[in-house]
Symmetry: C3
Subunit: 324 residues, 3 copies
């Protein structure tokens, strides 16, 4: 069975989900991203790697935040960026997704950044496109959001040199998270020996124990001696009906406060994918505190997206990025 994310030489062809990426590719992306961290600190934040390429942001679901990160990454690579918000246009004229994609390919689009509220949309498009076209999944339903997972791994690697003796806790709404499953997979693949999940039962998927994690329903026990705390966003907008008594109640039990954070190691770092619900899943003193690496995550997110785009377009990881 072919891996749809790799070409026949084993190089990255699409980025659809962290599941299925060999450890070698995962590390190659993270290593490549290192070189792009520096680009953003230059006087001229631009490299010519994607000059004359057309990157299409194909957003079937609105997300200014995610679109912005990919738009910035693509423009710093000197690509031409075309942003399409598809709900309002061709789709309403009855054109199928694949017709939209085929049209953009006929216009010589080189890369699609796909956001959709349905799981598998990016896979569906990737399966359809010819071999010189690349697809990046920018979030599909609850399923996957691999650049988020990658930037989390990159951030952890930046702050915790050796992943082989880390204890990592993922806290919150695992059930509705696009990333929790990918994080678990990535952490395990990269050699993290102990991954914990802390959440109420109602916010855990049925098969969570099969993912090789330790499940906790209590913050005190779950955070004990961890090196990394990965908070999840409470997906209010994805929850139909009342799985939770109230957000205040949630905060009391699972919201990350300085007090609860004190159960973790003193040098533990705190991650959050954003946008934060301050006072719901995380207290502002933690979000803005010394152990928070939430804004560095955003910075590294641009570097990771540039790395993925450069690898897809160039086919290799040794990009140096002279000035554009």
């Amino acid at each position: 069975m072919n891996n749809p994310q790799l070409d026949t030489d084993g190089r990255l062809r699409h980025l659809l989900s962290i599941e299925g990426l060999p450890k070698k590719i995962l590390n190659q992306i993270l290593d490549t991203a290192e070189s792009f961290v520096g680009v953003a600190e230059r006087e001229v934040k631009k490299v010519p790697l994607l000059r004359g390429k057309t990157v299409c942001n194909l957003f079937f679901e609105n997300s200014t935040r995610t679109r912005t990160t990919f738009e910035i990454a693509a423009k710093r690579l000197s690509a031409d960026v075309i942003s399409l918000n598809v709900n309002t246009s061709s789709q309403s004229k009855g054109e199928t997704i694949l017709d939209t994609v085929d049209n953009l390919i006929a216009m010589h689009a080189d890369m699609f950044v796909v956001r959709h509220n349905q799981s598998g949309a990016a896979h569906f498009i990737a399966k359809h496109v010819p071999s010189h076209i690349h697809v990046i999944n920018a979030g599909d339903g609850r399923h996957s959001h691999p650049t988020q997972g990658l930037l989390d791994m990159f951030t952890i690697r930046k702050y915790k040199a050796d992943l082989h003796n880390l204890r990592v806790a993922i806290v919150g709404d695992v059930l509705h998270s696009r990333v929790a499953r990918s994080e678990i997979h990535a952490l395990t693949t990269l050699g993290v020996p102990e991954v914990r999940v802390i959440a109420p039962k109602t916010l855990l998927p049925a098969q969570v124990d099969k993912l090789g994690v330790h499940v906790f329903h209590d913050m005190k026990a779950g955070l004990k001696d961890v090196d990394v705390v990965m908070m999840l966003r409470l997906q209010n907008e994805r929850m139909n009906g009342a799985m939770l008594p109230s957000t205040q109640e949630y905060f009391k039990t699972y919201g990350l406060t300085q007090e609860k954070l004190s159960y973790a190691k003193p040098d533990a770092i705190v991650l959050h994918p954003g946008p934060m619900n301050r006072g719901v899943e995380i207290d502002s003193t933690v979000a803005d505190g010394a152990q928070s690496v939430i804004l560095p995550q955003v910075t590294y997110g641009i570097a990771v997206r540039m790395a993925v785009m450069a690898m897809l377009a160039g086919g290799s990881g040794q990009v140096q990025g002279g000035q554009a």
Copy 2:
């Protein structure tokens, strides 16, 4: 009487409608487009012809699809592209169209790509602007959509070398089509000896017989031995009330299936302006079949738009396009 589309030296000044374009200019556009087909196949799909020029997409009616084609074309010519969706902004503050245009000219806009739901909007703007500003009609009501007509001509020329012995059938909703009239005019101007129109009476304009076409109401008779089948989109969103019994009924009688296509010549090509209503005016087996040139149309559409923009900005057709 002056031709508003030409300057005093007979060169293209605006592109408003195919009607009124001399055969020489039509051919010049098509010839210039040839050189841009190659640009899209380069590693770096960019030429510096419009560098430092400001192209304004002035869309009084939303059309992501059309805006995207012009945006891609302008960016590949290295122009700065400004997209304005005008319904939501100044117009709602009571500013007139011409005030909006005058303001953009005062900002040194060089070219307007105009989309409006009212016939004649682009002509109205073109009549108003000073001589160094250029207007391209990107669709005005039912009236005209000349780049669509041009890309169709380009596509036919690509597949059928000699236009002087072709039989072409235009099928479907001629009444509401922005392009049917332009197609007929262009085909006749370029020397196509026989143009047919196939449609139910309710979807034909009153004066259709005066356009020099053969009118058919039956697919079998109309498609007999044609070289080119130009399908029109069923403009559901433009039809008020029920001119049609049902889309299923329409498909049965006028939808292009492999069986109906077999009445045409074996090497007949099938065009469609998109977005397609699969299963309404065209069957998927035809749309995706060997005789379909629907996606090449899209590819050539970018080349044609680049050609028009380059001619308007540069005033001539001998553009070579060295690397940007």
Copy 3:
């Protein structure tokens, strides 16, 4: 007390309001803008001053017109422009303004152009950002819209060489205007000896007499022998309830007609910030007449915005702008 608009060396750090800008800085902006007027008249309207910089249009209130002017200015400086319409996105997910700003800073945004319907929003953001980030106020509620004020000063200086013997009248809805107060301040700072305000009492703020202006309620007396007439837009959309009998009534008393304009000096110039309500605050014969400098205002607006951006990014005013 620090001036938030200046850095410790007295150079422009943010542009938030004209109030608080020293005369030296005001003149420096206007002088710098002179050099950018020429850029827009070049064949290639582009200079590389902001190449590789990321300018974020952060619009919490929609304004295509204003966004377009800043987008054009930034692109002519070769910046990468990211436009965010924030109502529809992160804000609706509950993220605070400062979280949005912090995220964009983490993505290495260099400059924010901020539009908000609340007074003080740009100041609030400016107070928050680190020292290498620059904020431009593109309009905050009724409070301020400094680039509009600056382009008005630039326009007056262009047409009336010596500001020290001018008589200037500001006419109309001073109460709801974003700019009237700034204009008054700027005119006084630049040495204009006589500033008049002409408006009905209901459209004047309570403390208007303390601004050092002469107040008139009658056009004939107020326009007598003035050199400059600055019309204000009647802010229909900001007026709740009926402060005015009717727009016809308003036009009769305060609308600028050729007849009323004849009270001013024969070489008086007429300004309007746009978009105009023709037939409400200004008659078309005046708007389009020989004394109108309304479109030159728009042209100079781009130059002024380029100047401000270049000064903020470069820290000085001696920008020459070789070709990009």
